[in-house]
Symmetry: C2
Subunit: 207 residues, 2 copies
DNA sequence: TGGTTAGGGTACGATATCGTACCGTAATTG
DNA sequence: CAATTACGGTACGATATCGTACCCTAACCA
């Protein structure tokens, strides 16, 4: 029963969660610099004593938010390795990837990382390692396996994976990041389908 | 002789330029929020009166810097339309594009845009329109022309252009933006060459 | 039931930053 | 040469922000 939360502990964790969600909105909408602890406070309600009891200072609060969102969002990048056809698997990975990268939280996270990478290098490293690079490596591993089984010639799986992910991002990610125009699921499927087609033609050139 | 600068005007424009270059370094290294006018001042030397005589306030100074750098950097994206072979032209455009996008100033500009897009939407619009989107459109136009002349079947030149640019950016741009690891010219050429190869195979599938 | 704990409300100190004001100097121009 | 102009130095006002301190209430636990 060690997981049973006492009433106190429950209260505490709820407060902590409330602070995190309120602060997350502010940090993502206004950025680190323009978000003030006083505004966080008025958003979540309560006293400064409580806020600083949960989070030592502004940086700690920011890091906690980024870590939380990063873990949750990047977890969604983990590909489902079902035994499908090559092209379908590619498409699934592409759709999943682009959906995450252009989701509201994905964009907010990316923006925060780009903006604050220089001042929070550990967060940026974690993001890129567990985010785009991990997805790319998963794909590369899959390509390595497939290029042994199937009649594919993929000279450099890592580079091929980066190419595919790049095609999938295309201009959609740029646009989403810079103008907040997030693509619909329809658009995502169209983009990914085209990327898969091009990729397959590029790979199976010499069968 | 209307372009002849008087001594006064020359002095003035030199001071303005000095402020811009000094402030540019700070804004790009520290970001908008963490850059203070006092630090700009101590970097460029001189008095506040002079600083504010040239730039009404911090936002105006920031916009002036971004506009200046944006114009200069994005101008380098203009493709040289020499009459080369299809693949060579693609490679030239790709190398030029990736070099600009991963140059020190290109990265700094991109970071600033992503970080401040929400608060300076006009700057972000200008950046994306005259930057990545313009390069993509140039390529699309070129593809349209070529697909009429050569034996190419490019169903959607705009999408194909976005795919090519995406492949060229690949992971290199992500890495450069998030960890300041800028690729060497060698790496750039390798990446672009691979992208061109894949692109050609993807396009000339059904000759 | 009495003690402990989480939290609320608010005032406050220290600092920092934006932008202005004031005064003096050097250079340029008519 | 006198007047205008750009500039340098610095003090200052207004505001804002981080984080702390103090006092009080309500919930919870033994």
């Amino acid at each position: 029963m060690e997981n049973a939360l006492s009433s106190r502990e429950k209260r505490q964790s709820e407060k902590r969660a409330a602070i995190l969600t309120a602060a997350k909105t502010l940090f993502f909408e206004e950025g680190y610099g323009r978000t003030t602890m006083d505004r966080v406070l008025s958003a979540v309600g309560g006293s400064k004593r409580t806020l600083y009891a949960h989070f030592e200072n502004k940086e700690v609060l920011f890091k906690a938010i980024i870590s939380q969102v990063s873990d949750r969002v990047l977890y969604a990048l983990t590909p489902q390795v079902e035994s499908k056809e090559f092209g379908d698997t590619l498409a699934d990975m592409g759709v999943r990837y682009l959906q995450v990268m252009t989701s509201t939280e994905g964009i907010a996270l990316y923006r925060a990382m780009v903006a604050e990478a220089a001042h929070f290098p550990d967060l940026a490293d974690n993001f890129i390692q567990n985010g785009p690079c991990r997805a790319s490596k998963h794909l590369a591993d899959y390509l390595r396996v497939q290029s042994a089984h199937e009649n594919l010639h993929i000279a450099d799986p890592d580079l091929a994976a980066a190419q595919f992910m790049g095609m999938v991002r295309g201009n959609a990610h740029l646009l989403a990041v810079l103008t907040a125009q997030i693509p619909s699921d329809e658009e995502i499927r169209t983009i990914v389908k085209a990327a898969v087609d091009s990729f397959l033609r590029g790979c199976i050139a010499h069968h």
